[in-house]
């Protein structure tokens, strides 16, 4: 089949045009099917730092406090202080220039969108998918407020969440996301980066 296409293609187009034609034509016919828009939306849980994929909905710290006490406090503690079952979500602010850095959410996490993404994909255990988008916004607002990163009244939604700057955002090397991919330009060598 591929040989036939090649022969046909050569007779009807110049070389340059052929290259373009092949770039557009899948070589392996009828392997895989096109997902529907609904399938793509339902499957797509990825939320990047720009928050492009964040769904409609919104929440505040106050609303989040209620959801937190019902769904999260059993493992993370009533005030998000953590327990043997789950890490602390509130506090732990301390300078990082020490051999024992405090890698808590408030002290270390670089992006607020990661909080939304992780709650939405992974929480609560065994009940993933049980929280509505507004529940997740509200929980994110609650955690950010308790860590004194946003005021209590701030509404967290698709527009406001990506604008929240986490305290440790500027302490990663390299700083710019566009510079991360090029290990050589970063000076990484033999498995180690500066």
């Amino acid at each position: 089949m591929r040989y036939f296409n090649l022969g046909l293609a050569l007779t009807v187009c110049s070389l340059a045009a052929c290259a373009a034609a092949f770039a557009q034509t899948p070589s392996y016919s009828n392997v895989g099917r096109t997902p529907t828009k609904e399938e793509m939306q339902a499957w797509n849980q990825s939320i990047g730092p720009e928050g492009k994929e964040l769904p409609p909905g919104s929440g505040t710290a106050k609303e989040g406090e209620k959801v937190f006490s019902e769904k999260c406090a059993v493992c993370h503690g009533p005030a998000g202080e953590g327990s043997q079952l789950a890490p602390r979500l509130v506090g732990g602010r301390a300078p990082l220039n020490t051999p024992t850095p405090s890698r808590t959410l408030a002290n270390y996490w670089p992006f607020a969108t990661t909080i939304w993404d992780y709650i939405n994909r992974a929480m609560p255990p065994k009940q993933q998918g049980s929280l509505s988008a507004s529940d997740v916004y509200a929980l994110t607002a609650f955690i950010l407020y308790r860590n004194e990163i946003i005021p209590e009244t701030q509404v967290i939604d698709a527009a406001s969440l990506p604008k929240v700057k986490m305290p440790n955002r500027d302490d990663f090397v390299p700083h710019e996301l566009k510079d991360i991919h090029d290990l050589r330009a970063r000076g990484c060598s033999a498995g180690h980066c500066p």
Partner: protein
Amino acid sequence: MSSKRSPRRQFLKNGAALAGLAAGAISSPAENLFAADTPATGAEALHAYGQRSHFENDGRIGSIAMWPIVPGARRDYGFRSPLQDSIGIITPASLHFIISHGHEPPDIDPREHRLMIHGMVDRPLIFSLDEIKRLPSVSRLHFLECHGNSATSGPTGDPRKASNATVQETHGLTSCSIWTGVPLSLLLGQVGVQKGASWIVAEGTEEGKHSKSIPLEKAMDDCLVVYGQNGEALRPEQGYPLRLLVPGWQGINNVKWVRRIYVVDEPYMAMMESTKYPSPRLDGKSRWFESEMGPKSVITRPSGGQQLSARGFYEITGLAWSGGGAIRRVEVSADGGRTWKDAQLQQPIAPKAHTRFGLAWTWNGEEAVLQSRCTDDQGHVQPTLNDLAKFWGVGMDYFQLPPATADMGNFNGIQPWKVNRDGSVSNALL
């Protein structure tokens, strides 16, 4: 347990049959042969999927850290591979190290499993496993290694530093397989990556839906979507029925149970990659996305916890690997690093794969410190502890710090083993 008992019972029965024949003495050789080969009840089931000899009992060990998933059910974070008993370069799938961030493998029906590729592409596609198997396959030798392997700090640091540590405890978070699947570049070619795309985000099916951002250049270079490991389907704990393979890069990239690849224009800063895997420096900054594993080697025999039975000849043998390419050279020292000899490299030597080395050695009964250092085909040499300290901007005391301290990933320092006068072998790193 019953699976362990049945081959033993089988062995005892055959043994009894042989003993009976020896006592009988009249039966013909043909009858002997027949009697010994007659399968006992259940033998067919035993041979449907083979088991190792009941004399062989090396296994993975866990207790890297405990991970609370639900109240009352704390789970092991991961399991180390028994490198001290490794033979050649292939790790049996049943002994391959496991890190799943504490999540148990999901029970996936391969007929139901789908891989979706979408995002900045011309033609998003959903593939069934059968469809992926219709595409041209490749098989490649590659190691996988957890970035925390051999670290002196972090959750893997404690047993690693002990003087009685085995190579399983110091280096057991690496394994090597022959992986079979489809180049990711082929699948990305099918969907047509759009201009401006620069990263992919791969996502798993397990409870935590592990998500990892990988630069598009790497995805197009040598990444694979694999369904086979060492000639059979992936094991559940290795991502059955489909996983991503990102050769030479930190284990976290090799998303198991992969169900979705999302083509995007920046890293998506998922939880693990942005908060758990960066390595903090002592100045308070953190390196993130270190990605490639450096050149590394370790002697697996003689190694920590083993015992030399007598003076005389031993082959010093071990494994070398590098995320940067193929291993070009391994040197071995039996005098604590004063003099080095080139070890022999066994074929096959594949890029980003374990390579087996060996060097003839005669133990004279005196104390000896054995160590290996490798060089890859980029010319990069495995570092000493001093080199690492310099690179990380830390003092040598860093390596002595308790394991709760800043965990620096990608530890690839030279590993010394001390052979004591009584033939015992101990960890001489610190």
